[in-house]
C-alpha cells in the first residue's frame, strides 16, 4: 500500500470508528456488573469483526485478514485516537490463540477453533502459576498421557478473563527429567471440561480481571496438542510474540491523548499557573512523546524487517516507566479529593482521569508480560552483551 492509500485507509477506519464507538462506555462500565461488561465487549467485538477491523492480522482468506503490518498499525492508532474500548475480553483469542494456531497449529485445529473465535468465543491463557511467574519454565502443572488423552492436574494463576473463557491455552509439563524448558507441552483445553474450576482474583482496583484456574484430572484430547510433545516452550514464544509492538503503539498513543485529561485535572485544581506543576508537566511531555516515537519506530523496524533482539523489551520497559510517571503526576495534582474511592471501571485503560485508579492499573504494564526486571535482564544480556547470571543460586550444585 502506498503512503496515500494508507492515509485513505486511515480516514476510512477513523470515520468508521467515529460513528461506531459505543457512546459513553466509560461511565457505563464504572462499577458495572460483570454481565454489563461482557455485553458491551461482545457488542463492540461483533461490530469490529463485521467491519473487518478485529482480525487484520489474520491471513488472507479469513474475514478481515491479510492486512499488512502498516495497515494494522493504522487500525491501532485510530482505535487509540477514538478512545474506543480495548477488546480485553477477546485479546487472547484474537492474538494469542489465533497466532499460535496460524503459526504452529494443524489445519484441523484451525478449522475447529478459528471460526468460533470470530463468533465470539473467549480464550484465556494458562501460563503463569503461583510458583512460576517470571520464571515461567519452572511451571509444574502436569499433563500425563493416557491413551489418546492427556490428564491435567495443577493450578494456573493471573489468567486474564479466565472466568469468562470458553477455551484455555495451556502450558503444562509432560516431562520433568530434562532442563525445565524441554518438558513443556502446549494444549488447547475446553474450560467446560469436568474438573476445571475458576476462582476470580479480587484486585486492588476492585476489579477482577484475573483468575486462578484449578485442574483436577481434566482430560484433553491428544488432537488438541499444538506442536509436538515437549515443544511447548517454542510454541509459547510464538504466542507471546504475536502482538508485539501493535499494543504498545496503541497504548503510547492513548497516553499521549491522556495528557489532555491530565491538563484537565491541573485546570480544575487551579494548578495551571503553578510553576512547579507546569515544570512537572513539562518534564513528562517529552517522555510521553519519546514513548510514542519509540513504539512507532519499533513497529517501523518490524515492517522493514530490521528488528533486533531486545528492541521489544526497550519499548515495553520505557512505556511502563513513563506510564508510572504519568499516573503518578495525576495522583500528585489530583490532591486529596483524588484519593476518594469512586469505585472501579471494568476494562478501563490507564487514562480514566481517576488517577489513583489509573495509578494502580499502571502496575499491569510493569509486571505483566515480562516484568520491568525481566526486560532489564533481556536488554543487558542480549542487547548490551553483559554476561548472564550464574544458572542457579545453589552455586555448589
Amino acid at each position: 500500500m502506498t503512503q496515500i492509500e494508507l492515509e485513505q485507509f486511515r480516514r476510512q477506519v477513523g470515520s468508521w470508528l467515529a460513528s461506531n464507538v459505543p457512546n459513553a462506555w466509560r461511565p457505563a462500565l464504572t462499577n458495572a456488573e460483570q454481565g454489563d461488561f461482557v455485553e458491551l465487549q461482545k457488542a463492540w467485538f461483533t461490530k469490529l469483526v463485521e467491519a473487518g477491523y478485529a482480525t487484520p492480522h489474520w491471513p488472507e482468506g479469513w474475514p478481515g485478514g491479510g492486512r499488512s503490518l502498516a495497515e494494522q498499525k493504522v487500525i491501532f492508532e485510530e482505535v487509540a485516537r477514538a478512545d474506543a474500548p480495548r477488546l480485553i475480553l477477546y485479546f487472547v483469542a484474537l492474538y494469542h490463540a489465533a497466532c499460535t494456531l496460524f503459526e504452529c497449529g494443524s489445519e484441523e485445529q484451525r478449522q475447529k477453533y478459528l471460526p468460533g473465535i470470530l463468533k465470539g468465543e473467549i480464550w484465556c491463557q494458562g501460563f503463569s502459576e503461583p510458583n512460576a511467574g517470571s520464571d515461567l519454565a519452572s511451571l509444574k502443572t502436569r499433563a500425563v498421557r493416557k491413551g489418546d488423552k492427556y490428564i491435567i492436574n495443577g493450578q494456573k494463576t493471573w489468567s486474564t478473563m479466565a472466568q469468562y473463557a470458553d477455551h484455555c491455552l495451556l502450558l503444562a509439563r509432560t516431562d520433568s527429567s530434562g532442563p525445565p524448558q524441554a518438558g513443556l507441552t502446549y494444549l488447547l483445553l475446553d474450560m467446560k471440561s469436568p474438573g476445571v474450576s475458576v476462582r476470580p482474583i479480587s484486585q486492588i482496583t476492585g476489579d477482577d480481571e484475573f483468575a486462578e484456574i484449578f485442574f483436577d484430572d481434566v482430560e484433553v484430547d491428544v488432537a488438541d496438542r499444538v506442536g509436538d510433545e515437549g515443544a511447548g516452550w517454542a510454541v509459547a514464544q510464538a504466542t507471546l510474540a504475536s502482538e508485539r509492538g501493535l499494543t504498545l503503539v496503541e497504548l503510547t498513543q492513548r497516553m499521549r491523548y491522556g495528557l489532555n485529561i491530565l491538563v484537565g485535572t491541573l485546570k480544575s485544581n487551579g494548578r495551571l499557573s503553578d510553576p512547579v506543576a507546569l515544570a512537572d508537566l513539562g518534564c513528562l511531555i517529552p517522555k510521553v512523546d519519546a514513548a510514542c516515537a519509540l513504539a512507532d519506530q519499533y513497529l517501523q523496524k518490524r515492517i522493514n524487517g530490521t528488528e533486533q533482539v531486545g528492541d521489544a523489551s526497550i519499548v515495553k520497559l520505557y512505556y511502563a516507566q513513563v506510564l508510572r510517571e504519568f499516573v503518578a503526576l495525576g495522583v500528585r495534582v489530583g490532591g486529596l479529593d483524588g484519593q476518594g474511592d469512586s469505585g472501579f471501571m471494568r476494562g478501563a485503560t490507564q487514562e480514566t482521569g481517576d488517577w489513583t485508579l489509573d495509578y494502580m492499573n499502571s502496575y499491569n504494564w510493569s509486571i505483566a508480560g515480562g516484568s520491568n526486571e525481566v526486560q532489564r535482564n533481556i536488554i543487558a544480556e542480549r542487547m548490551l552483551g553483559m554476561p548472564r547470571e550464574p544458572k542457579s543460586w545453589q552455586l555448589g550444585e
Binding site: 495528557l259 489532555n260 491538563v263 495551571l272 510553576p275 507546569l278 515544570a279 512537572d280 508537566l281 513539562g282 518534564c283 511531555i285 517529552p286 517522555k287 512523546d289 519519546a290 514513548a291 510514542c292 516515537a293 519509540l294 512507532d296 519506530q297 526497550i314 520497559l317 520505557y318 516507566q321 526486571e373 526486560q375 532489564r376 535482564n377 536488554i379 543487558a380 544480556e381 542487547m383 548490551l384 552483551g385 553483559m386 554476561p387 548472564r388 547470571e389 550464574p390
Partner: protein, 337 residues
C-alpha cells in the same frame, strides 16, 4: 533512518573514531571541512547535499560521540540560517564558510539591543569564536539578525572558563557598535522567523550532541564492567549493575527516537525544546551513573570518563538555559491544545 543517513553516519563515525581521541579539535575541523559535513543540509539550489536537518543531526550525534572540540555544530547552524535568509550575497558567505572560515554564534542567551542605529549588549558561549572571523548575532526582540566582524572596535571577544575542556566558548561584548558597519541578514518578521528557527535548531543540535556522547559513554562503561573483575567475576555479572545499564540504554534509545521523530515532523519549537530537554537530561544521567560505575578510575584525570561528565553538565546549561525548558515545553503544549 534512511540508507543515505546511515551511510552519512557511518562515514562520519569512521573519521571521528579513527582520530581515537576525545575532544579532538583541529584534525576534526579540517576533515569535516574537507569531507563536506557542513554541506549536508544546504539545499541543492545552493549547491549543497540537500539532505535536510536530519543529516546535520546525524553529523552532530557522531561529533558528540567523539566529544568533538571543533566548532562544527555552530558552523552548521550558521550555515543553515544563512541558507534560509534572503541575503543577496549568501552564496559568497556560504563559500567562505565551506572553505573553513569559521562563523560562530551564541550557544546560550544573548541580550543585544538596538538604539539609534547603535548596538549594545552581550552574547554568550560562542564556540570557537577565538578563531572565527564573524559572528551571527540577533537582538533580544528578534527584530534584527546580523553578521558582525569579530575584529572591530566596540566588540570584545573573551574566552569563557568552563570545566568542560572539549568545548571552547567565548563571550562577546558589544559597545556602541554602529549598525551600518554590520551585515544585516534579516529584519522584522523575517528576522524573527529566522531566529526562532535557529534557536530550535540549536536545541536539536545540542540534543544530538548529547545522544552521541551518551551512547559512546555507555558503551565505554559496559566495556569497563565486562573487563573489571571483582569477587571473582566480571562486574557486569552483577544484576544491580546490569539493570542500571539497561535503564540507561532505554533512556538513550527513547531520547534518540524522540529526536528523530521531532525531525520528521513539521517544524515545532516546542518539540525542539522537548528534544533538547530530554536528550540533555538523559546524557547527564548517563554521565552521572557512568562515573559511579567506573569506580575510582572514573575520578582519575587520565581516564576519559570525566570529559563526558563535564560536557554533559555544560550541555544542560547551553541553549535557552536549564531553568527554561520544562515550563516552556508545558506552555507550548498548552498553547497547541
Amino acid at each position: 533512518m534512511s540508507v543515505e543517513l546511515n551511510e552519512l553516519r557511518d562515514s562520519v563515525r569512521q573519521v571521528v573514531s579513527g582520530i581515537g581521541q576525545y575532544g579532538a579539535k583541529q584534525s576534526l575541523w579540517d576533515q569535516g571541512i574537507e569531507l563536506g559535513w557542513l554541506m549536508v543540509s544546504i539545499p541543492e539550489s545552493l549547491d549543497g547535499l540537500d539532505m535536510g536537518v536530519a543529516a546535520s543531526s546525524v553529523v552532530n550525534i557522531e561529533l558528540g560521540r567523539g566529544l568533538c572540540a571543533a566548532p562544527l555544530s555552530s558552523a552548521l547552524l550558521s550555515i543553515e540560517a544563512l541558507c534560509d535568509s534572503n541575503l543577496s550575497d549568501k552564496a559568497d558567505h556560504l563559500m567562505q564558510a565551506l572553505s573553513g572560515e569559521l562563523l560562530s554564534l551564541p550557544f546560550a542567551n544573548s541580550s543585544i539591543r538596538l538604539n539609534d542605529a547603535s548596538l549594545n549588549g552581550y552574547a554568550i558561549a560562542l564556540p570557537g569564536a577565538g578563531q572565527a572571523t564573524q559572528a551571527l548575532l540577533w537582538t533580544e526582540d528578534q527584530q534584527l539578525l546580523f553578521l558582525a566582524s569579530l575584529d572591530q572596535p566596540g566588540l570584545k571577544c573573551v574566552e569563557r572558563s568552563t570545566r568542560d575542556v572539549t568545548r571552547t566558548l567565548f563571550d562577546v561584548d558589544l559597545q556602541n557598535l554602529s549598525l551600518k558597519e554590520q551585515t544585516i541578514v534579516a529584519e522584522g518578521e523575517q528576522a524573527q522567523q529566522l531566529v526562532s528557527a535557529l534557536l530550535a535548531r540549536r536545541d536539536i543540535s545540542l540534543a544530538a550532541d548529547s545522544i552521541g556522547a551518551a551512547s559512546e559513554l555507555l558503551e565505554m562503561t559496559i566495556e569497563h564492567l565486562n573487563t573489571r573483575v571483582q569477587f571473582r567475576r566480571p562486574l557486569a555479572m552483577f544484576q544491580a549493575l546490569k539493570h542500571r545499564c539497561a535503564d540507561l540504554k532505554v533512556q538513550i534509545v527513547a531520547s534518540e527516537a524522540m529526536l528523530f521523530d521531532a525531525l520528521a515532523r513539521p517544524f515545532s519549537e516546542t518539540r525542539a525544546m522537548a528534544a533538547k530537554y530530554l536528550c540533555c537530561t538523559s546524557f547527564a544521567k548517563v554521565a552521572e551513573e557512568s562515573l559511579q560505575l567506573h569506580g575510582g578510575i572514573g575520578m582519575a584525570d587520565e581516564h576519559d570518563c570525566h570529559l563526558f561528565l563535564k560536557r554533559a553538565l555544560l550541555n544542560m546549561h547551553l541553549g535557552r538555559g536549564e531553568a527554561v525548558y520544562a515550563q516552556a515545553v508545558a506552555r507550548g503544549f498548552l498553547q497547541e491544545q
